[in-house]
Symmetry: C2
Subunit: 809 residues, 2 copies
């Protein structure tokens, strides 16, 4: 499959293009119009792979013998790249005459307005139910498969405690784990690579307004669900919570469109929700529903969506998101009550349950210890992220082929199993088996009548282990065992995240944190000579939240998720303090793990605020130019030519300008491209050509009368490429009047406007294009997401400076 | 004190001005430049009163004998007015060269950036602590005063049960109540009228971007705190939760500015936070802290601020808001633990405590009953709001003088006491006094050894009564008593809200709702022959939330507040469903009570979404014009003249235009005012004149070098009026260069842009001015908040149409 940009001159000239800061306005080198896209179908459909730079590399290994050696000397600085291949979402409504007429007709009828609203609620209900069910399926799958594995190994261990055959259960265990993991990784590597990892970075990108190809496909969902069951049951250091968030988002995208292009199904309902704007709103509901199901935290889910998506807070929307979350929690609750054989007893809130912290109390002074633990969490998190970052770079360079990735997963699975076995073998944490209330206790190397508590660390589901670390009685675990467990699991988790298998990061982080938090508690308890003020549950919880905060650096949503998972409001303050401190400390060293992965992949994310120092960067210096424009009445021939030659998605419509006869203006400070009137989108132009809306067409009036906004969205999100629009030679000489179709409310800025003001506009309104005009309202440039995301800051010796990222294709 | 606009020609021509829709572009009648303000100091300082149209009327009664009879025939349609006197907040940063230079210098140093951030956190900490303490003071005050009242009356009742002197305790009770209420109402009416009511509408306005005069003053805070203690202890049907939210906001405004202009204190720290932008961010933290303290709901507090403020979701900001809420909850918790003599036992979450709903369960089928109850709540809420709306109009017309308002409060207090006494007298809800575990049980008209449960409804603090209705055992209250209580309290609460006394609406609504919810539960229980599935707590809670939702129509924040107050996640779904249904049903009839009060006062609030039907309303038809502009180099004389003549706060800076010699252009479609370059604010112009930044000034360079952004904010928010800037006759001929001071990033829209696109811009970016340009970048008009808020929709027979509001001064 052809990769984006491959047939552009840029690829042949130089694959990597770096611009120095602030030179762009006078830069006559190959320009970068940032919304590049060779074939609109292609990009959303096939190109790009989030978890590798396959876009570049796989291609070579596939069909190019000698991989263009001249490029090998250009060193890619993975911290400062931006890939041109990612498309932006368009949260703007194209406000043209047809839209205005239709909206006016529709909204004059109260019922029509209500009906649109009611259908949105129905969709949100469906999203909630389906997400809850999916969470239930994952839960059931993990439980059944793990149970099977456990029973088999337990039988063998019980048989072998006396005989000298302990290698045998080990082998069976290994075989189980590796077999499961093999299935998961093959599925991920060969069927849908974007399903690897937690999916949170990809969803962050989507909510931020960038499409990672394939991220909301049904194939991704299936790979994710099956893969995560295999990975968790296969004993990898992964959780199933992150993947739940991604699953919720995919479900939302599917349901809201009322069809699946992969499955070739179209229910033809919800047609008017086929736009980036509506879809993104529903995807945020889906992500929230995913969080709600994963942690039993409906409010946390809403806040997660807002924290990540957030250019749009709108009462009605947030209310619907909350509804989805609530329904999803309830659905999972009902499903789990059936699984656990207490139907309709609605007390199983999420996939993970932290247990009750009802009687966990703390004293004011202990908040200082919480600060210290937060700092430790920040340091460890930064270390984790640094190692994982280096590993990710290593993987991008050397583990590119699919089979290599599968092998890496298998290796990690084997190593994980071995580590667990060795820990159990050498630790002597045996506890008397009082009564058989808990199902998964094994004797292992303990005496009869005892069970191995260190074995439980590994053999339980990770969720149960977290709960155990929070709540089990003092004395259950020895500090040394906990230390080895925490250290080992830390590196395992770090190695595991980024493997070609669906894998959540929450549970491993919580496990490591709970383990060292418990150690802190035990040490304090010993230091204070068991005076009783040390509550191990409290310290485990604080450790867990500090560790998680240090790695993911999420703030408010994480606090609320933990508050809801513990069902305890007063514990919110220490949790919050540990998260604040962990984030502050960690941020001194690097970014959160999700942001690292996003940036390594060169996704043009926009942060929360404009960069510091950007106050005097002006529109003129950040914009892309020259600009391809169309006249208000444009010839069919030129439209086709421009669409074929250019990759852009939006074109300014101008007056008083002849694009063909114009030669580059010399001796002007900034070249201009005619008086600005509006903006027209590629998809609109193609639809106009397809519908033959030529001025010369005798049926024009009739066609226009029947034309609906829906016609523009029919093919969303995979629009027809221009190559597939058939135009007769006669028609090529016809003209098209763009005035009725262009966006008349297109956002413009004067060339004197600052980077920061444009940034806030982009971020708050979810824009894709901003046209830069001069003081005569002539087009001088266009600003897209990549023009803004291109800059970043670095700090050296307390001085901050702006650096520009390298744009690669 | 002169009222705004009084010395403008408008007032003398016509006090009321109505424009018909869509005619404005060709309208040559007196223009409305919406940001009208005769004297900047005046408006923020003295004019306007939220709770009456005193701005118009008080003035007359004060010094005009015959109140301009020619106006009496113009009927004010209170549903469709907009007052020109409210000023907007300016959330935009004025992005001029000085700002850019300063930001660049500052942000190049990492430490400076951090220091600004750290101080923001310190402020948020202080806001939390002070808000929590204030809540504690209110709580303690109410408790002490109520206790005193109770003890006195109880003694007398106990004495009189045998003798025939029951009139005596009644009189003492009345005297207590009326004395307390008298203090509260005099304070409110004479000291600070804006402290009346819950303050939530005023805070909603502030967060939406409109300043209600005096709303965040220290005098308001004191009146609020003392007044609410008097009102609650005086037995009025009011709560102390709403006032807490207002108090938090005032505290935040004060702390963040590091000074109090009323108290003439200036700590000179936090100087760089003296702008509308920073202040509004802190006020939202204060409001959240208030909610957090009132309900023990830190997350609910954050969501409240977002639901009401919400043009700004920003991770760092929300995180700080959450921190304030958390600190405030904890502070109140600590204070209460001391009040209740269990120091440091952190289990007293908020001012109100719903008690534990741990074992309250429900079946799936009961959700249908929840829907029905939601509908009842919606209907009752709509009725409540309708009655209160009519009452408010009545008050605006006939209860204008201060003494009249005081008398009304006293009347209501007397009536409330009488109603309570009569209910207690006629009801026979006597329960055996098992043991004296509860402090406030009285015998009244019951037999010895019994206490009157209906007396408890009135004599307990309202918070305790809510808790009682939620949790007391079946059989405590007879349905008839509950019905009389609910009906009576409904009308009392309705009458009370809007009185000249600080009064929250949450508790009365919860009380009424809990009472009828309990009735529903009792009836169901009888209908099902006590088969045991009916949980009275559940139905009281659902009734309470439905009632509250039907009145205030808040959504997500209210759900979370109730969830946090009950500490029960599974109950979230029924609560949410009842709120959704109540809102839907209620919205068919009228708006939420807060919005009704806001609209009756003519505040230009901007809703969530552009109006339906507005898709084809264009910038040209909504903008104000003609526009007063300045040239890039302008004479001092003209600046002074324009500033004196005009009320506007922002002026476009243009080239190629001579304002003085220009005559109205004839035969042009839209008059133009020169080529647009930037926007300059009134406060900036005054500062430039004051600092004598004349081109002809030989010291200009030196002054410019020393000039800091802080100099512009020194007097914030009470800028110098132009009348007080002294300019010598010689200086009047000098010129000023505006280019370095104007906002170069000013938002512009083309005249073809639609109302909806301008609306989203305003709402998302918190703007105050948008300049409308034509296709030659010439200024043709300006859009301010009032130009957008001027439109509203009405629906008749399922058809929606746009109507325009009347703008009054």
């Amino acid at each position: 499959m052809p990769r984006s940009g491959e047939n552009t001159p840029l690829l042949n000239n130089s694959r990597l293009h770096s611009r120095t800061s602030r030179s762009s306005s006078s830069d006559s080198a190959p320009y970068f119009y940032s919304d590049i896209n060779s074939d609109p179908r292609d990009l959303r459909d096939g190109a790009g792979d989030f978890n590798s730079i396959e876009t570049l590399e796989d291609n070579h290994s596939g069909n190019v013998e000698n991989p263009e050696p001249q490029e090998k000397d250009v060193k890619i600085d993975e911290e400062h790249i931006l890939k041109a291949g990612f498309e932006s979402l368009d949260y703007e409504v194209s406000d043209n005459l047809i839209y205005q007429k239709e909206e006016k007709d529709k909204s004059s009828k109260k019922l029509a307005l209500h009906w649109r609203e009611v259908r949105r609620w129905i969709i949100c209900f469906l999203i909630g139910v389906l997400t809850g069910l999916t969470a239930g399926i994952i839960d059931l799958g993990v439980e059944k498969v793990s149970g099977l594995k456990f029973e088999s190994v337990k039988d063998l261990v019980d048989k072998c405690v006396t005989g000298n055959c302990m290698y045998y259960p080990l082998l069976v265990w290994l075989a189980f784990n590796m077999g499961l993991v093999l299935v998961g990784s093959i599925l991920t590597a060969y069927v849908e690579p974007v399903a690897a990892g937690s999916g949170i970075p990809q969803i962050k990108c989507y909510l931020n307004g960038v499409i990672v190809p394939h991220v909301v496909r049904i194939k991704t969902l299936i790979t994710k669900v099956v893969g995560v069951v295999c990975a968790v049951a296969g004993g990898l250091a992964v959780g199933k919570e992150g993947p739940m968030i991604h699953s919720g988002a995919v479900i939302a995208a599917g349901v809201s469109q009322g069809r699946s292009t992969s499955l070739k199904l179209d229910f033809s309902i919800f047609k008017d929700f086929r736009s980036d704007r509506e879809k993104r709103d529903f995807v945020s509901a889906g992500a929230a529903a995913g969080v709600a199901a994963a942690f039993g935290a409906p409010v946390g889910g809403v806040l997660f969506s807002l924290e990540e998506g957030a250019s749009f807070w709108n009462q009605a929307l947030v209310w619907r998101i909350f509804f989805s979350s609530m329904v999803s929690t309830m659905t999972l609750n009902i499903v789990q009550s059936y699984i656990k054989n207490h139907p309709w007893e609605l007390s199983y809130a999420g996939l993970i349950n932290f247990g009750t912290f009802g009687n966990v109390n703390y004293q004011f002074m202990e908040l200082f210890l919480v600060i210290v633990m937060g700092a430790i969490g920040g340091l460890l998190g930064a270390l984790f992220n640094h190692i994982n970052f280096k590993l990710t770079i290593f993987r991008m360079r050397f583990i590119q082929r699919r089979w290599q990735r599968v092998i890496e997963v298998i290796m990690v699975a084997a190593y994980t199993a071995a580590f667990a076995y060795i820990l159990i073998f050498f630790s002597q944490d045996c506890l008397p088996l009082v009564e058989n209330r808990e199902p998964m206790l094994m004797q292992y190397f303990c005496k009869d009548g005892e069970f191995s508590s260190s074995a439980r660390l590994f053999f339980d589901t990770p969720e149960a282990t977290v709960k155990n670390l929070f709540h089990s009685n003092p004395g259950t675990y020895r500090p040394l065992t906990l230390f080895i467990f925490a250290a080992g699991y830390f590196f395992l988790a770090c190695w595991t995240y980024g493997l070609s298998v669906p894998s959540g990061l929450f549970i491993p982080s919580l496990l490591v944190g709970a383990a060292w938090g418990r150690i802190v508690g035990i040490v304090l308890s010993m230091a204070s000579e068991n005076s009783g003020w040390v509550n191990l549950s409290f310290y485990s919880l604080v450790g867990a939240s500090a560790m998680l905060g240090g790695i993911v650096r999420m703030t408010i949503s994480l606090t609320v998720i933990i508050m809801e998972a513990t069902s305890n409001v007063p514990l919110g303050l220490p949790v919050m303090i540990s998260l604040i401190v962990a984030k502050w400390v960690g941020d001194q060293f690097n970014e959160g793990i999700y942001d690292i992965h996003i940036h390594v992949q060169g996704v043009p994310m926009l942060g929360w605020e404009p960069l510091p120092l950007s106050a005097n960067l002006s529109a003129k210096s950040v914009m892309s130019h020259p600009v391809s424009v169309f006249r208000t009445v444009e010839t069919v021939e030129r439209i086709i030519r421009v669409l074929k030659e250019e990759k852009h998605n939006g074109f300014p419509v101008v007056m008083d300008y002849d694009p063909d006869s114009s030669t580059p203006q010399e001796n002007v400070e900034v070249e201009t491209f005619g008086t600005f009137r509006g903006l027209i989108l590629r998809s609109q132009l193609i639809m106009m050509l397809k519908k033959k809306l030529f001025v010369e067409n005798p049926n024009l009036q009739k066609i226009l009368k029947d034309l609906k906004m829906e016609n523009f969205n029919d093919l969303y999100p995979r629009y027809l490429p221009i190559q597939r629009v058939s135009i007769s030679p006669e028609e090529a000489n016809f003209t098209v009047n763009l005035e009725a179709f262009m966006n008349q409310s297109q956002h413009v800025v004067l060339e004197s406007a600052s980077y920061s003001s444009i940034f806030s506009k982009f971020r708050s309104l979810g824009l894709r294009h901003v046209v830069v005009i001069n003081f005569q309202n002539q087009v001088v440039g266009i600003v897209t997401r990549k023009d803004l995301a291109r800059y970043t800051v670095e700090s050296h010796n307390g001085q901050i400076s702006i650096v520009e990222k390298m744009i690669i294709l």
